[in-house]
């Protein structure tokens, strides 16, 4: 733990089932549902013991309501306790989780609720893509044909050029994540797929097909973080937040430098002779976030020391790129890594056992918190209780990693969670 900070525990969480559209409940009601679920899981936690909250939602365009965060605070009956909103694009949920961690770690709060939501069904899919593309430079990037799938397609095209990554390896991610989701009742699109299905689906931005890309969703998620003393009162299965890291990169893809790899403890400069980094093929912010979180948690070789990962697979390509940023394999080896089954349940390190964003959905402000909740249940060993089946439970999971990612790798958070019992 950094000097002056105290230990923080993750005691409870809740999620709504993500859907394409949920017009019968507004964002306040959806969060209320996730919040009530989290509260019910820790019966000793009463609202008067909550010190404050952090709200997470990405786009004011989708809500068409400024200060929507306070409306949730109000609806949950948390006024006049402190609250604030966090926004960092696709990483908003992960950043919210870390902001709640800070509130407890600093001693400002003993119990802090992190809640998040997005209501993307309020516009059609292509308008929604426009809203998301407004999270690229609106002078230089957006007007040229602003479209996030296009940006990611350009990044992975370069990854393919540098490292020989194949579209079949990318498709393998889609097969894995949609397949895992078959056992996750919270998932939006569980599917049994083949690599051929993924490649045969409609081309969106070459080389990414529809099944390489996540979808728009409505949904909410909620996490409760507490000090050691409060955690002991609330649960006999606390999960400790042992590492927190955040990284950033330039807003414009065009501005990414071509320098040296930021090395993790198990890597050497010779591993990357001649590789210009990060370029547009890798996420320097992800590496920065991982490095910081690993240092704090004392992780020196993530592949050996992390039991599972829930990462931001908005695109199959970015899951492969993220294996590398997280140091699960070397830069350039992400394609073969998934192809060999290392990221499967039962593999070296299961990645997105929940089904990830590809299959669970991506209601942006809720997404990072959804990953946290899935990780909490994995570490508590309560997947069976919450999913109604334990097919996705990673046996003896002691340490998990959650990764939240914005823009073209512009804001990225990595948090390390460990069993605290």
């Amino acid at each position: 733990m950094p000097k002056g900070f105290r230990d923080v525990y993750f005691v409870s969480g809740g999620i709504t089932r993500f859907k394409k559209a949920q017009p019968d409940k507004d964002f306040r009601y959806m969060v209320k549902e996730a919040f009530d679920y989290a509260m019910a899981d820790v019966p000793n936690l009463t609202v008067d013991r909550i010190d404050g909250s952090v709200a997470s939602y990405f786009s004011d365009h989708f809500t068409r309501q400024l200060m929507a965060g306070i409306m949730v605070q109000d609806y949950l009956g948390l006024c006049p306790k402190p609250g604030r909103r966090i926004e960092s694009g696709g990483a908003t949920g992960g950043m919210c989780f870390q902001s709640a961690w800070e509130a407890v770690a600093s001693g400002r709060m003993d119990v802090c609720v992190a809640f998040g939501f997005e209501t993307m069904s309020r516009v059609n899919t292509w308008k929604g893509n426009e809203f998301i593309a407004l999270a690229s430079d609106t002078n230089f990037d957006y007007p040229v044909g602003g479209f996030y799938t296009g940006y990611y397609a350009m990044m992975v095209r370069r990854h393919m050029h540098e490292f020989g990554t194949t579209v079949e390896q990318m498709a393998r991610v889609s097969v894995k994540n949609h397949g895992n989701a078959l056992h996750n009742p919270y998932s939006q699109y569980p599917m049994k797929l083949t690599v051929e299905d993924v490649r045969r689906s409609e081309m969106v931005s070459d080389p990414l097909t529809r099944l390489d890309v996540c979808v728009m969703s409505d949904g909410a998620a909620c996490c409760v973080l507490a000090s050691e003393e409060m955690a002991a009162k609330l649960t006999d299965r606390p999960v400790k937040v042992t590492g927190v890291g955040t990284g950033t990169d330039t807003m414009r893809l065009a501005d990414r430098p071509h320098g040296d790899v930021i090395l993790l403890p198990h890597e050497r400069p010779e591993d990357y002779k001649g590789l210009k980094y990060p370029g547009v093929h890798s996420f320097r912010g992800g590496r920065m976030a991982a490095k910081t979180a690993y240092e704090m948690a004392g992780v020196t070789n993530p592949l050996e020391e992390v039991d599972f990962v829930e990462l931001h697979d908005a695109f199959t390509s970015s899951e492969i790129q993220t294996y590398e940023d997280l140091g699960l394999c070397r830069y350039g080896e992400g394609g073969p890594f998934v192809e060999a089954g290392h990221a499967d349940i039962g593999g070296k390190v299961p990645v997105n056992p929940s089904g990830g964003l590809l299959a669970c959905g991506h209601p942006v402000g809720a997404t990072g918190l959804m990953q946290a909740v899935f990780a909490l249940w994995q570490l508590q060993g309560t997947i069976g209780k919450h999913f109604g089946n334990d097919r996705l439970q990673i046996p003896r999971a002691r340490r998990g990693l959650i990764h939240s990612h914005a823009g073209t790798g512009t804001y990225i958070t990595v948090s390390v969670l460990e069993r605290g019992f």
């Binding site: 292509w126 479209f147 296009g150 931005s205 990414r256 547009v280």
Partner: protein, 177 residues
């Protein structure tokens, strides 16, 4: 139109004459587009024109109108930006304007078969990041004159400009050199 519930004039006592004439907001014939009832889903329109300044980036957009592609160069550390920026991200110094070569190479590309609503009608279109000799960063543009999905990394491309400038980054586009 007469409101049938209105009291007949003078029905009230003395001093109530004014109240007897009911105050009503005039009705209009504008309606609401309804998609669904219970939950009630209606159309909610929103539109805005901004007064947008390109500020310190203005010379780039003005340059496009005269067929010039301008980047930035740092006089302190020499870092050269193919997409302009007012201050150097490496050392913080104020940058100077420099003209980019007319030709570069495709660093990476994609063809978009779908897009944001604003660009959906232009699909399929090809996006490229262009690299230029002597510049440390790239430039995002459209590639024209190559069949969808047929672009290649490393291909030499040259800048062309719209005759009627729109003062948008799409005033410049690239074609095979």
């Amino acid at each position: 139109m007469t409101d049938m519930t209105e009291k007949p004039a003078g029905a009230g006592g003395a001093g109530e004459v004014k109240e007897a004439k009911k105050i009503r907001l005039p009705e209009t014939e504008e309606g609401t587009v309804v998609f669904n009832i219970d939950p009630l889903i209606v159309k909610d329109h929103y539109e805005i024109d901004y007064i947008h300044s390109y500020a310190q980036d203005s010379p780039f957009f003005i340059g496009l109108a005269s067929g010039k592609l301008l980047g930035s160069k740092c006089p302190e550390c020499g870092y050269a930006y193919a997409t302009p920026r007012g201050h150097c991200m490496v050392c913080g110094a104020k940058t100077e304007w420099v003209e980019l070569p007319k030709e570069g190479r495709i660093h990476t590309w994609t063809t978009c078969y779908f897009g944001s609503e604003a660009f959906l009608k232009e699909t399929p279109f090809t996006l490229i990041l262009v690299e230029f000799d002597g510049f440390d960063t790239l430039f995002l543009a459209r590639l024209v004159g190559v069949e969808p999905s047929q672009a290649q990394i490393g291909t030499r491309v040259k800048a062309q400009f719209l005759r009627n400038s729109k003062f948008k980054p799409t005033d410049v586009y690239f074609v095979p050199a």
